[in-house]
Amino acid sequence: MTTAIDPVIVAKDLRKKYEDITAVNGISFEVRRGEVFGMLGPNGAGKTTTIEILEGMRDADSGDAIINGINVKDDPIAVKAMIGVQLQQNAFFDKLKLSEIVDLYAKLYLAKVDPVEILSRVGLDNRKNAQYAELSGGQKQRLSIAVALVNDPVVLFLDEPTTGLDPQARRQLWELVRKIQADGATIVLTTHYMEEAEELCDRIAVVENGEIIALDTPDALIDQLLSTGFKPEKRVREATLDDVFLNLTGHDLRD
């Protein structure tokens, strides 16, 4: 692996305009090696644009995105080679088996991997001969994570990895994210599920109108809110409706 540089991601005053809409309006943050960094915010807040600038998918109008010491605008290919990417919309070749898709993507990075081993990391080894179109939503998301892991990435970007998944599949994906973190990767994810952020992220940036309006650990953010004298409207319950649903339908995956 490439030499370790900490912080592994440095975003400095990123700005991006689409015609008359300012999508990213001066975003700066740092991500430490080994942490799960969450970007939260409503739709259209600029999360995806920010993440895509870091991935080398889009050019920023100004500012710097530095991944593991390499500025994306100087060498986007080198950055792409050492990161793993799960886009918000993922699509893979049809008519190929999952193992062939993983193998093909590994070759695009000139990486030598065992496709079945990669698939087993995301729990898809039993579907290695299936085609992409035959997968359920959760399986598709897990495949796209498997593909993002082929080059043993320094940073893994996950853009809304659990949107549209049922609670079972969501929980399974959380476990997967923790496992990948435990294996030593740094993870940047976007989400608009607060419980997901609380569950997974070491630190959170809240994005609104193209700007970061808060950045801290989930606990610190909650403490800050409480210190202003904030009282939740309802008494905190011991269980959530999510727990009820999972209790009724079981934790087993439906695919």
Binding site: V85, L87, K95, L96, L104, L108
Partner: protein, 370 residues
């Protein structure tokens, strides 16, 4: 190189697993070939005759016009050219006879012997052409007889026959390379357009953009895959066509298959490039399909695939001779039925080369990942 190979192998797998696309790539052209091959268009058309005019004077030109007939009654379909070209056409079946008008035709006091060379295998056409030739020369005499004595010039005309055994195999053999060329156009253009536009609208291309590969890797892989498909398809069509319709390919010359592969590759590259240009421009399948059809449909009928360009009006052939498919169909026909080899094809190769350059320039300008 490794990346390019991986992409090529993957897209070959995808293509051959798509049974439906495979079926249409072969079924439709074969169906056309067999149906048209069983029809006999030669029956209804006036015989093709090559006329070599060595005299090239007022009298000889009048004779040629008379042999063509008039708009009420078309007599012969006349093509002109060098003696070699005309004999080649006779030998390989695109014409049924050669008429040579000697240099002394129409010159006072000379005996002009018109040579009439025909293919012995087509006795019926020989009889028709010979009758027309006799009638027309008689008429020329009769007309001359009405000229007052003091102005009349004496020019005796004789007709001498000779015969060759041609190798032409008729319309069926003529049809096979044309349909194969059409199939190259369809496969090259449509599979590229539909695969790329689908990949683009699904976001497959966008996902590839997130990897460290360049567009060139991906396009080269696509190009190689489709080129291999096109060559295999050409083989299947020509072999099946030749077996079903009972014709021989390239006079049995083995090198003809090599030459055919080269032409198929050139044709494939050309139409793939056109396909890349269209798929770069089109946003989705709905806009891509009509454009692909607008490009291919006219060529199917104007490029001499189903019937020779000579049956079309001159103003049209003046343009349609420069169409990409015309160059490809002509070249493939020259190799499969006219005994040519790739080294003797001049105009066709230049024509294809020019079109390939133009199309690739446009394709590169038009390509977008998303």
């Amino acid at each position: 190189m490794k990346i390019y190979l991986a992409l090529t192998v993957a897209s070959l797998k995808m293509y051959f697993r798509n049974k439906q696309a495979l079926f249409w790539a072969l079924f439709f052209p074969l169906l056309i070939m067999i149906i048209f091959g069983m029809m006999n268009f030669n029956k209804y058309s006036s015989p093709n005759v090559g006329i070599y005019d060595a005299a090239n004077n007022y009298a000889s030109q009048a004779l040629i016009e008379a042999l063509k007939g008039n708009s009420d009654q078309k007599l012969l379909s006349v093509s002109t050219g060098t003696l070699d070209e005309l004999h080649h056409e006779l030998e390989f079946g695109s014409s049924r006879a050669v008429i040579e008008i000697p240099a002394n035709y129409g010159i006072p006091g000379e005996f002009a012997e018109i040579k009439f060379i025909y293919d012995e295998r087509f006795q019926q056409e020989r009889a028709v052409i010979a009758t027309i030739l006799e009638k027309v020369t008689d008429a020329v005499f009769k007309e001359a007889a009405q000229v007052p004595d003091e102005y009349r010039v004496e020019n005796a005309i004789g007709i001498s026959d000779s015969v060759i055994t041609g190798q032409g195999q008729g319309f069926k053999a003529w049809l096979i390379p044309g349909v194969a060329a059409m199939a190259i156009m369809q496969t090259g253009l449509f599979t590229v357009v539909f695969t790329l536009v689908r990949f683009k609208s699904q976001g497959v291309l966008r996902r590839l953009k997130a990897t460290p590969i360049g567009a060139a890797h991906f396009l080269a892989g696509q190009l190689t895959t489709k080129a291999i498909v096109v060559v295999l398809q050409t083989y299947v069509l020509v072999i099946v066509g030749a077996v079903v319709l009972g014709v021989s390919v390239g006079g049995g010359r083995l090198g003809a298959w090599f030459d055919l592969s080269i032409l198929a590759l050139l044709g494939g590259a050309l139409f793939i490039a056109i396909g890349l240009a269209v798929s770069g421009w089109a946003k989705n399948e709905e806009t891509a399909a009509p454009i692909a059809n607008i490009i291919t449909m006219p060529m199917m009928f104007l490029s001499g695939v189903f019937f020779p360009l000579s049956v079309m009006p001159d103003w049209l052939t003046r343009w349609s001779q420069y169409l990409p498919l015309t160059y490809l169909a002509d070249g493939m026909r020259a190799i499969t039925v006219e005994g040519a080899s790739i080294t003797t094809l001049g105009g066709e190769l230049i024509g294809l080369g020019v079109w390939i350059s133009i199309s690739f320039a446009i394709a590169i300008k038009m390509f977008r990942w998303e």
